[in-house]
Every structure is written in structure tokens, then in C-alpha cells.
């Protein structure tokens, strides 16, 4: 079972440096930005200001009939929906990588899942901001507890909760596992949020993705440009963030290894220092012994020196002088005799 298979350090699944995908990242970013820019320009120039898909008939909002001023805010649609779709797509990949992490226990997938969640959060926040502008200027309120808004808001809370969970766990192996589980559980809300406009027809949010959307080409083309542009940007952002996170993780790993080696080294140094001290002590003992030997040339054993150190120089010298013949015996007898003296 999974219990006895520790998390492997990143292996084959780790992002390849300088590979084809890596080189494509920059191109994708440029392409995405370009497409989105065309989308924005098209939105404000070529896209007609007629009744958009959002409001097919004039409606009374906040006491005023919908006018061109209100329809201008419909331009948010061309960015809002692509960003929202991108957030779902990136989160799908986050959940996919989380599942693959649980299957393989390869830390590279945890890294990818986490990175994708970070990008998801960025896109969700962007969607919330653009969506909030939409609710304010199209519906006349800052916030409604409407099913789509509610489920999407919950999605944001779940992604934030994911990062709080990540910070609350210290053990990297356990953190990776729990976060992967929570990522999968959190992702369940994404299809709910996506499908809610179909499940609850009373929702003010229109069903955008359908074959009979009725968008005229002049509106459909910029929308699609924005959609693909945003997906390219999402891909490039995920890739770039992955590169940064991989570097950060590598730095962490190196730091850990460095610390380990440092610990080894300092331990070795401590051992060496200990040895030196021991040697020094031995030398000091020998040095102590030397004057004793000088005082009484007969006292040749170390036992005499120890006795001398224990009793004090004055006593010992006299003792040595008196019991010099006993010196060849064990130190204990020598000590006794010196005390007697």
C-alpha cells in the first residue's frame, strides 16, 4: 500500500529544461497576448453594439430601460467568459495531476498540481473582478446569490482553502497527499459551477456554450479569439510558474542537502576537535608528568604523575622522595602511602 512507498524525488515526470514544450511556452504567451489584444480591439471597434446575447430584449433594470450605456458593459463578456473557461480548464489539469500524484507518488506531479492551482486562483480572481463589474453594470447590483455566482464563489473559497491546507501541513509527503485529495474534492465543484446554468434554468446567467448561441459572427469571432488567447496565456503562465516553482523546489532540495552535508561536516569537525582536545589533554598530562620526573628521577610510571596531580605538588614531591622504592607498584598503593605521609 501507499504507506510504505515514500514520495519519490522528482524523476522522469519533472519538467524538461529547454525541451520542445519549454520553447513553445514563450511563443504561446506571445500568441495568447496577441489573440487577446485582437479580441479587445475587435470588441470595441467591429463588434456591434446591438442587443447582445446577454440581453436579447430590452429590460428594465433599476427603474431605467436598458440603453446603449448598459450595452457597452456587455463588452466585459468578451474577456470575462474566456477567463472563466480558462480557470476551469487549468483547475481540471490541477485535479488531473493530483490524481496522477496519488497514483504514482511522484513529487513532480504534486508540484504541477500546486502550480496549476496557483494559476487557477489568479484566473478565478480575474473572473470574479470582471464578473462583479458585470453584475454591477448589467444587473444593477454588486452581488446576487445567484446559482452560478454562488458556486463560483465557493470554488474560489475552495482554492483558497487548498493553499491554507498546504500551509498548515509541515511534512512534505503528507502535505502533498492531503492537498492532492483536497484538490480532487474541490474540483467536484467546478463541473457543478459550469453546469449550473443548465441545471437551474431560472439562473440569470445565460448558457453560453451551445450550438444555437445565436451570436452573430462579428461577436462570435472576437469571443473565440479571446477564448483561445486566454487558453494560450493560461498554458504559458502555468508553464512559467512551473519553471519558477521547480527552481524553488530545487533550491529547497539543495539547501536541505547542503544542510545535511553541513551537519556531516560540522559533526566531523566536532569529532576532530574532540580528538584534538583529547590529544591535548594527554599532552598536558604528559607535561605534568615531566616536572614530576625531573623532581624524582625514579618516578617513571604515569601512576606517580596521577598521584602527584591528585595530592598537590608539595606533598607529592615529599612523598616521592620518601616512598620512592614503592613507585614501581600500583598507583593505589602509592596514593595510600602518600596520604600516610
Amino acid at each position: 500500500m501507499a504507506a510504505d512507498s515514500p514520495v519519490r524525488a522528482s524523476s522522469g515526470g519533472s519538467p524538461a529544461r529547454g525541451g520542445l514544450i519549454d520553447r513553445l511556452t514563450f511563443a504561446a504567451l506571445v500568441l495568447g497576448v496577441l489573440l487577446t489584444a485582437i479580441d479587445v480591439v475587435w470588441t470595441f471597434t467591429l463588434a456591434p453594439m446591438v442587443q447582445g446575447a446577454e440581453l436579447s430584449e430590452p429590460a428594465i433594470i433599476g427603474g431605467t430601460q436598458v440603453t446603449t450605456k448598459l450595452l457597452l458593459s456587455q463588452k466585459i463578456f468578451y474577456l470575462h467568459v474566456p477567463v472563466a473557461v480558462a480557470s476551469f480548464v487549468v483547475m481540471f489539469f490541477a485535479a488531473l495531476w493530483a490524481v496522477r500524484f496519488l497514483m504514482t507518488k511522484d513529487r513532480a506531479f504534486d508540484l504541477r498540481s500546486k502550480t496549476a492551482m496557483e494559476v487557477t486562483l489568479a484566473f478565478i480572481v480575474a473572473t470574479m473582478i470582471s464578473g462583479d463589474l458585470w453584475t454591477r453594470f448589467e444587473w444593477g447590483v454588486w452581488w446576487v446569490w445567484e446559482p452560478r455566482l454562488t458556486t463560483y464563489f465557493i470554488l474560489m473559497l475552495l482554492v483558497i482553502g487548498y493553499f491554507i491546507l498546504r500551509n498548515a501541513l509541515d511534512d512534505p509527503e503528507r502535505r502533498a497527499r492531503f492537498c492532492a485529495v483536497f484538490c480532487v474534492v474541490a474540483f467536484i465543484d467546478a463541473p457543478i459551477s459550469f453546469m449550473i446554468t443548465r441545471l437551474v434554468p431560472s439562473s440569470i446567467h445565460p448558457v453560453v456554450f451551445r450550438t444555437d448561441s445565436g451570436l452573430p459572427p462579428m461577436m462570435l469571432i472576437p469571443f473565440l479569439l479571446g477564448l483561445f488567447g486566454m487558453l494560450f496565456i493560461a498554458f504559458a503562465l502555468t508553464r512559467l510558474a512551473l519553471r519558477i516553482n521547480a527552481d524553488a523546489q530545487e533550491v529547497e532540495d539543495l539547501k536541505e542537502r547542503l544542510e545535511e552535508q553541513d551537519a556531516w561536516k560540522s559533526r566531523a569537525a566536532a569529532d576532530a576537535a574532540f580528538e584534538r582536545l583529547r590529544a591535548g589533554a594527554r599532552e598536558a598530562v604528559a607535561a605534568d608528568e615531566a616536572p614530576a620526573r625531573a623532581d624524582s628521577p625514579d618516578a617513571s610510571t604515569t601512576g606517580a604523575a596521577t598521584g602527584a596531580a591528585a595530592d598537590g605538588a608539595g606533598v607529592s614531591t615529599t612523598a616521592h622522595a620518601e616512598v620512592a622504592p614503592a613507585d614501581s607498584e600500583s598507583p593505589d598503593t602509592h596514593l595510600d602511602s602518600s596520604q600516610e605521609a
Binding site: M1, T151, I164, L165, A168, R177
Partner: protein, 242 residues
């Protein structure tokens, strides 16, 4: 973790493992009464706060129209407290390690824990829901369809117990686990809450022609239960072995 089915080895059936684990939880609760007392007292306190919050409302406003929401807020907060406690004695006395050392399928551990949580939640609801009616709806005219609110109550409690068991297992060893469980639990359980509140409100109001919403909400809550419990069941083995 598949059990050995080698010939000659005594194979304990999953049902017996499940029963043993469940009985252990129940016995522990009967002896300590830790979870039930704290949950009931907490629910009473929430009801008291409702009393203060609605003090100026009086009988004029139809409390019935938002009673479903109030009742579900009570259930969610109370179960949050209970779920936080449900694993505390498991870790305190090293009981979880013992269970995990035994050759028991992780899914069985999950089911037993979820069942015991469900039983405790149901017991608490048995006390608090009548109290809620007594305190806030005794003066109101109840619709004849009021007993139908038991359906979302059952479906909702099952979902809360299932998801809560998974999440509370995840948060036992974290820093600041009480807050973390709330942060994870409330958003995850939100769709269920939403569906149950609308179903309960329809049942309490009993307006003709709104029962389509009741059944749709109930179906949504049921679907949520099935999906979430299946997910929790499948993912539980990744959460417990450490």
C-alpha cells in the same frame, strides 16, 4: 489493502470489522458522552443566539420563510463542532495507529467512522430540531407538508457525515485544525447546504406548485451525497496511512 485469502488463514469478514469499529466508537461515546454533550449544548447556544437575533422580529414576520435556512445553519455549525471532536480521542490515545496496524480495509474504517458520525449527528438532531420548532415555530401555522422536511434532513445529514469524516481525518494533525476544518468543510459542503435549505423551505412553506423545486433540490442533494461519499471512500486510503 486486500485481505489475505490464503487457505488456512482465518478471514474476518469486512462486515465484522465494520461492526467492531462502529461498536468501539459507540461504546466510547456512551462511556464519555464527550461529543454528544458538547454538540447538544452548542446547539442550544446557537438557538439562544437565534433568539437574540430574532428578538426584535417578533411574530409579525413569517419566520417560516427563512426557518429552513436557520435550521440548516444550526445543523452545519453543530456538526462542525462534532466532527472536530470525533477524531480527537482517536489520536490522543493512539487508537488510530492501532486500527491502521490491523489488516482492515481503509474503506471499512471510513464507513465505520462515517456511520458513527452519522449516528451522533442524528441523535443531536433528534433533540435540536424539535427544540428549534418549539422555540421559533410554536406560534406559526405549520403547513401540512412540514413532515416532508425530514427527507432533506436525512439526505443532508448523510452527506455531512460522509464529507466531514474525510475532511476531519485530514485536519487532525494540522496546525490550527479547528479553523482549518471549517475552512475546508463549509465550501465543500455548500452545494448540499444550498439544496437542503431550498428543499426544507419549500416543505415548511407548503405552497402549491413549488414542489418541483423540492424534488429537484432533493435529487441534487442525493447526487451530491453519492458523488462525495464515493470520492471520500476512494480517497480515504490516501488520507489515513501516514
Amino acid at each position: 489493502m486486500a485481505q489475505d485469502s490464503k487457505p488456512g488463514t482465518m478471514r474476518v469478514s469486512s462486515w465484522r470489522q465494520y461492526r467492531a469499529l462502529l461498536l468501539k466508537d459507540l461504546r466510547q461515546e456512551v462511556r464519555t458522552r464527550e461529543m454528544l454533550t458538547s454538540m447538544v449544548v452548542y446547539a442550544l447556544l446557537v438557538l439562544t443566539i437565534y433568539g437574540a437575533a430574532l428578538a426584535q422580529v417578533g411574530d409579525r414576520v413569517e419566520v417560516v420563510s427563512f426557518a429552513g435556512g436557520l435550521l440548516w445553519a444550526l445543523i452545519i455549525f453543530t456538526s462542525l463542532l462534532g466532527l472536530n471532536r470525533s477524531f480527537s480521542h482517536e489520536t490522543e490515545s493512539g487508537c488510530l495507529e492501532g486500527i491502521l496496524l490491523a489488516p482492515v480495509d481503509r474503506a471499512v474504517v471510513f464507513l465505520a467512522k462515517a456511520t458513527s458520525n452519522l449516528i451522533f449527528l442524528a441523535l443531536v438532531e433528534l433533540i435540536t430540531v424539535p427544540l428549534f420548532f418549539l422555540f421559533f415555530l410554536s406560534g406559526a401555522e405549520l403547513a401540512s407538508t412540514t413532515p416532508m422536511m425530514l427527507l432533506p434532513l436525512v439526505v443532508g445529514t448523510i452527506g455531512v457525515a460522509g464529507v466531514g469524516t474525510l475532511l476531519s481525518t485530514m485536519t487532525i494533525d494540522t496546525r490550527g485544525r479547528d479553523v482549518l476544518l471549517a475552512i475546508l468543510f463549509i465550501p465543500v459542503v455548500f452545494p448540499l447546504l444550498y439544496a437542503c435549505v431550498s428543499a426544507t423551505s419549500v416543505a415548511l412553506m407548503g405552497v402549491e406548485g413549488t414542489f418541483g423545486t423540492f424534488w429537484t433540490s432533493l435529487a441534487l442533494a442525493g447526487a451530491y451525497d453519492v458523488i462525495m461519499i464515493a470520492a471520500a471512500w476512494g480517497l480515504y486510503e490516501f488520507v489515513v496511512d501516514a
